[in-house]
């Protein structure tokens, strides 16, 4: 049998044997009821009448819930300024997929059958669906934000060349393999325990407290693991949890609410889609003199996290480039569509697309390799190192990454080879591109940059580890186990990682913003260090030796190299000496500040950098394409676990590639989502994985700031490495007019969009000959 090495995912053995339990797998709950939520099929209108008589009469039905049954406040928005997002529709319908009512029955099948019997009368009214409709209607959901440095208008006008255009990027469905689910179990005296698939147990807790009209100390939320989140379970879990908890309170029985896949895709929020209008001025050297980027995003029917997402988009509008004169504006639009939410990258990917398009346009205008335009515009210390929002960015690492990657990937020679290939290949065209990523690490809502841990050592030396982060596949627990293990010097099997639980760590931040290891790792290290030091003190007392001569290693107390007693004996000794064997750890990220009103400050503790070269081939007859090869060089500081980090890089890249090339959300004119299941919404399969994937971690590059082990966050940044695929496609397409015309490819680059772009370039190419 293989011994699970401490680097393997802590749950891997359970994963591969089917023993890992997800919420829906928990079967030992007596009297469990099942809920089915019925959603609005109308995008906008009024709920005139709701006849649920036949639903109530249907076999197995125990309860039917509507807005009137919410004991507390019928709101999920969880925002101090009131986002206005009701759990159940009261009268006004503002989006397809809003919950109208829920049926609670003795089986899921009975609940579903009953739900079909409802008579719902609605009066439709005109809806705002697309981003362009929203812009025309000026339906802002929040005030616009602007970053202004220098004078972009003048700079653009005074430049030798000007370009302008627009770019559309679609949204993205998270498609976590495990759908939204919660189980609420009523406890005595009005308390409620909820097992939820969520990235944010504390938010579920406080939302439930509001919904139920109780205080937070009555609600416990726990999460052992979730089957993927990607941002989609940051705020979106409250729907299932809310219905389950209200039903459990009403029936005094445990209730499970699990959305089926279609409901999940229709009802829950997605990545924001954007229209980006750009204008730029530049001279012969390719340097951007002035740029204006206008971001209009579709936020959907409620605010949710849209402000923060759009803030992050603005904060990444520069990507890796120094912008001397820039006007960066973000408009946030209300639409009658599902309320868009967090998704890996959190607005930054969309933010970067704009400036990367500008770079591309410059390259086409000047007939240069886009890489050279990128290099020309990169941040450089000392004179070109301040971001539009005022934070210093030291680009040394990024410059090194691009240099090394250009060389290792043989970008320059491959680019030439590809051009030769294309000359002899009328139908299949290849393309190549290198794009960089600079991603700011920290929550821009400064208060979220905190975490806690709680460590228990029992008398037999076994340890329970609690911290505030949720394991969603990113390997967080594996990394944190390693940290604690290193400090206490015991085997991983002696430490049990516990379900994330609001009972253990209160007021947790969401597991998001790539920061979970940074924050929780530090908190756990601090708790473990406290206990370590206490144990040393105990030993010093017992052995009458100075603390400095004592140390823990390999599960033994040592003086010098000599083992004296085992960790377990030492623990027991501490117990007998009446020394506390549990400790909390707390961490807050230092040195960050941000003023969201003036949009200035240093919101990021550090930046994570990377770059990728992608090579593609495109079929000019159908617009189909394939990514043949990708080379990635990415920075993770001093890695806590190289395999896990590489897994995050590859997973993020492929997920980003899906967003940019094939995942297409289509709403009809009435605002009804047409692509709400995997049969119509396509995420990458194994075959989409490029034939060659070379992923390298940047060596000898410890984090410059004090982070856990000098590592760097890795969850989100790699997603944006996939922008290289979009640009490689563009390169391939532009070959049809001898690389003279910018294809202005929109996202996602589906076969249809690629073919459209090919035709456009061909036409313009002929016209300009």
């Amino acid at each position: 049998m293989i011994m699970p090495d401490r680097n393997y995912h802590e749950s891997s053995r359970a994963h591969v044997t089917g023993a890992a339990l997800y919420a829906d797998d928990i079967s030992n709950i007596g009297n469990l009821l099942h809920g089915c939520v019925q959603a609005s099929t109308l995008a906008r209108g009024t709920l005139c009448a709701l006849n649920l008589e036949r639903v109530r009469q249907s076999p197995g039905v125990v309860a039917v819930l509507t807005a009137a049954d919410v004991p507390g406040v019928n709101d999920l928005s969880h925002l101090p300024d009131g986002g206005g997002e009701p759990l159940f529709i009261e009268k006004e319908i503002v989006s397809e997929g809003q919950a109208v009512f829920a049926v609670i029955a003795d089986s899921l099948d009975n609940a579903r059958q009953a739900a079909k019997l409802a008579v719902v009368e609605v009066e439709p009214s005109s809806a705002v669906i697309t981003i362009n409709q929203a812009i025309d209607a000026d339906s802002k959901i929040a005030p616009s934000r602007k970053i202004k440095v220098g004078d972009s208008t003048r700079a653009i006008d005074n430049s030798a060349f000007q370009i302008n255009g627009s770019l559309y990027t679609g949204g993205q469905e998270h498609f976590y393999l495990e759908g939204q689910i919660s189980i609420a179990i009523p406890k005595e005296s009005g308390a409620m325990t909820v097992i939820a698939s969520t990235q944010h147990p504390s938010e579920i807790q406080s939302t439930l407290a509001l919904l139920l009209g109780v205080s937070s100390n009555s609600v416990t939320v726990q999460t052992r693991r979730i089957g993927g989140g990607f941002g989609g379970k940051e705020s979106q879990g409250s729907l299932c949890a809310g219905v389950a908890a209200i039903a459990a309170q009403l029936t005094s029985q445990p209730v499970k609410v699990r959305l089926d896949r279609d409901q999940d895709m229709i009802m829950t929020g997605k990545r924001h889609d954007f229209r980006i209008d750009y204008k730029a001025g530049f001279d012969n050297d390719g340097l951007i003199r002035g740029v204006s980027l206008d971001y209009a995003s579709r936020c959907g029917h409620s605010l949710d996290q849209s402000k923060a997402v759009n803030d992050r988009a603005l904060l990444h509008a520069d990507n890796a480039y120094y912008l001397e004169n820039a006007t960066l504006t973000s408009h946030r639009y209300h639409t009658n569509t599902t309320s868009n939410t967090a998704f890996r990258g959190f607005g930054a990917p969309q933010g970067m697309l704009g400036i990367e398009r500008v770079i591309e346009e410059i390259a086409f205008t000047l007939q240069q390799d886009p890489l050279d335009i990128r290099l020309a515009n990169l941040y450089r210390t000392p004179n070109r190192s301040v971001t539009p929002y005022g934070q210093e960015f030291d680009s040394k690492v990024l410059v090194r990454i691009i240099g090394e990657l250009t060389e290792h990937s043989e970008y320059r020679s491959r680019r030439k080879k590809i051009r030769r290939f294309n000359q002899g290949s009328p139908v299949i065209k290849k393309g190549i591109a290198l794009t960089p990523v600079k991603f700011g690490i920290s929550f821009t809502a400064i208060h979220l940059n905190q975490a806690g841990a709680l460590l228990h050592i029992y008398r037999d030396g076994s340890v329970q580890l609690n911290h505030a982060g949720v394991e969603m596949g990113q390997g967080l627990h594996t990394k944190i186990l390693r940290i604690v293990q290193d400090i206490l010097t015991i085997e991983r099997s002696d430490i049990r990682i516990m379900a994330t639980n609001t009972e253990k760590i209160p007021n947790t931040s969401p597991t998001a913003a790539s920061a979970a290891t940074d924050l929780n790792g530090m908190a756990a290290a601090s708790a473990a260090t406290v206990l370590h030091d206490r144990l040393i003190k105990v030993a010093s007392h017992r052995l009458d030796l100075p603390e400095a001569e004592l140390s823990l290693s390999d599960g033994f107390l040592h003086t010098g190299d000599k083992p004296i007693m085992s960790f377990n004996e030492l623990v027991n000794e501490a117990y007998l000496q009446r020394v506390s064997l549990f400790a909390t750890g707390f961490y807050r990220t230092p040195d960050i500040n941000f003023d969201p009103d003036s949009f200035t400050g240093s919101p990021f503790y550090y930046y994570a950098n990377g770059a990728a070269v992608s090579e593609v081939e495109v079929d000019l007859l159908t617009g189909e394409h394939k990514v043949n090869r990708v080379d990635i060089l990415h920075e993770v500081g001093q890695s806590l676990n190289e395999e896990i980090d590489k897994g995050q890089i590859e997973g993020g890249f492929i997920q980003g590639m899906g967003w940019l090339t094939m995942e297409e959300l289509v709403w009809n004119d009435q605002g009804v989502l047409q692509t709400h299941s995997p049969s119509t919404y396509k995420i990458p399969t194994c075959r989409e994985r490029p034939s060659i994937v070379n992923i390298d971690l940047l060596r000898d590059a410890p984090n410059q700031v004090e982070s856990i082990y000098r590592s760097k966050a890795v969850g989100e940044p790699p997603l944006m490495l996939s922008i290289s695929v979009l640009h490689a496609l563009s390169d391939a397409i532009s070959s049809v007019a001898n690389y003279r015309i910018c294809p202005q490819l929109n996202v996602p680059a589906t076969p249809e969009h690629i073919l459209e772009s090919v035709q456009r370039v061909e036409k313009l190419g002929l016209a300009s000959v």
């Binding site: 699970p4 591969v16 393999l177 693991r225 139908v427 492929i654 297409e664 289509v666 047409q674 194994c686």
Partner: protein, 494 residues
Amino acid sequence: MKDVIQFLFRGRIEEVIQPLPNLTVLNWLRERKGATGTKEGCAEGDCGACTVLVGSLHSGKLEYRPVNACIRFLPTLDGTHLITIEDLMSDELLHPIQEAMVEHHGSQCGFCTPGIIISLFGLYLEKSRSNTGLTRKEIDDALAGNLCRCTGYGSIVSAAYDAFSSKRSGWVEKNIQETTSLVESIRPKKGVALDVHHQLYFAPTTLEHALGLVKAYPDATLLSGGTDIALQVTKRFDRLDKIIYLGQIEHLKSISKSNEGWTLGSGVTFSQMMGISDQIHPHLLATLERVGSVQIRNAGTIGGNIANASPVGDLSPLLMCLNAVLTLRTNEASRKLPIEEFFIEYGKTALRSGELIESIFIPRLPANSRFSSYKVSKRHDQDISTLLGAFRVDIDQGIIIKVIIAFGGMAEIPKRADNCEQALHQQPWSQAILASAAEQLSNDYSPIDDFRGSAKYRSRVAVNLLHRFWLEQANPEIPHRINYYPDNIVNDHA
């Protein structure tokens, strides 16, 4: 007839008396057996999280094939061996695939993992019978029906290479003799008849019996692989009150060959057809491989695909080009019908009440035939066609003496391009003639806009596909299709 089904499960014979006809294997496992290793990710056959292995006897040999438990009704397991993720370990020892998945970090959130492992295990069993090394294409094929949102697949691919290089076998492989005789012992000799909560289910074992039932219950749903029909239950939450399951009828699964051509029983699965498609025409495979996924092709039958009469069904345009003829049977009579006459309008076929598709005859292509077909979809694998074009010309001394062009996705039924065909008939086989004939396609089809593609896109690509047909025949040395597996990439298992 009996009202109990028997199948091998966890090493013993499981007997389920009066199983609910609409109960899926997935729900039975998870809800009745507490076997929660098999997951639900979509309940429609698209994500693979529910993948299980079903072993059944084919001419005395036990063959295991991955299928989607979410769209498979429990009673159809009668006489089979069901293997789930929980079965793979033996004596606390992980199967080589499980071990490699741990070592290569093949799981992140782990939710897709059981399904992925079962799919790879299906391939593992298949490969254990051959001596060839594992290729990247085989991995991609095996996993085409398994979505993973976390890993990007790289770690899974490396795990597969690693596991397959191990020669160690698990208990399934070791016990195949014993298991075969156990499965032999429960081979359904008698048909099944169930009446549970007013839901009727029949699984006859002979065609005659089936035809009698079809006559007696003309409103019953015919069930073959269930990859279309089961979705009514798992997605629309409808109930199928009367089911006649055709999957236990050996006759319908047979393939026979004569001098004139091939006769395929309507119950032949896509996987089975792929096994002989090269004999019919070497270009068939490339399109058949793109129907659904391994799991779907293991369950989905050609009869079901035709009867379903979907405008985007992939088989019909191919069969039209091949001049296939259907044999339709009732209790009393049998008739033959060229396939294009089967489709009348959207949702309407020539199938009469009391009738079923017995077989499909595919005549041998003459030596002067040129044939190709192209499926176009947003994603290469497990995607429904935006459109599919199938082309055939028979050429005699440079003149097109026979031409068939058929498209899926361009009309409300799979349909031939009459005008375009006419423009080509008896004309020289030349680029200019083809280009001008292609203009006729706009008279043949007025496709629709939908989320798979606009009418404009479909029309444009239809023309381009005809062009590709020409290019590939005229200039075979230049690449005209995307090359997924360039020669210089043997595998990426560094």
